[in-house]
Symmetry: C2
């Protein structure tokens, strides 16, 4: 499905992992995201829900809004999104609404994942746009950053 | 399901209709939303996708973010959302994520409605929160504001 080489895919997910670690450093659940247009990162997001007190401040939403600003367009046609954790229903819906071409995610979200785990909103044929989706890119590192974070929280309590 | 009288419900949807008309006045698809906490409106939103070039600037998202700021909390527990058109997957997901108690919507969205039409994300038992939902409040007026808007656009072209 990809216009990118395996090395490029690994690099972009590595950038999403950097964003996830930025969230962990400030006590947010470590989820990170980047959006790529023609080989260039045009949006970055790192979960900020607790600090911002904003229910929609998930990594994907922040990256989509940044990419919208960069392109000066709500449409992200032809762009690819990389996120460390499978998108929730809100983020999956935002991905469809912004007309992204493809999504790569690291590890599955068993509780809220809507890109294949609980359901797949990205490929839902009744919506006006469908998004290609591939799971498991750098899966172990994406899961590790989350399990390290929750292990540290448990130590503190 | 409601803590509000029929008069109050009509009033709150009337406020959402006012927000929808604000969108129409500036050329945006007229969809409006208000969020109510203990009888008081704490968030308002009016679709701004085209003007803001922001894929997530739907009426519900803007109202949720305003209510988050007012309460200084991403959780909107106990709050009720009124929106003129059935929520899309992104907005339905944001409603679940922000833990709203109940949603009233005016008219169904046959193409993207995820609060009962194509699917119901608000009552999905596998998510960690479920939202009460009631459709059809001031349905005809909510549909009329949309059909007037699209009729005007067709006249121009």
């Amino acid at each position: 499905m990809s216009e990118y080489s395996n090395e490029q895919l690994d690099y972009f997910m590595g950038q999403a992992l950097l964003e996830a670690r930025k969230a962990a450093e400030i006590g947010e659940v470590p989820i990170g995201c980047v959006i790529v247009s023609a080989g260039k990162i045009i949006g970055r997001g790192s979960n900020r829900r607790e600090l911002s007190h904003d229910a929609v401040a998930h990594a994907e939403i922040l990256a989509i809004r940044e990419a919208n600003r960069v392109l000066d367009d709500w449409r992200l046609e032809g762009c690819t999104l990389f996120v460390t954790l499978e998108p929730c229903p809100m983020c999956a819906g935002a991905i469809v609404n912004s007309r992204l071409r493809a999504v790569y995610y690291g590890c599955a979200d068993l509780k809220a994942g809507c890109a294949g785990t609980l359901m797949n909103l990205l490929t839902e044929p009744r919506f006006n746009h469908q998004v290609q989706v591939k799971k498991g890119l750098r899966q172990e590192e994406c899961a590790q950053v989350l399990s390290d974070f929750f292990a540290k929280i448990r130590e503190k309590h």
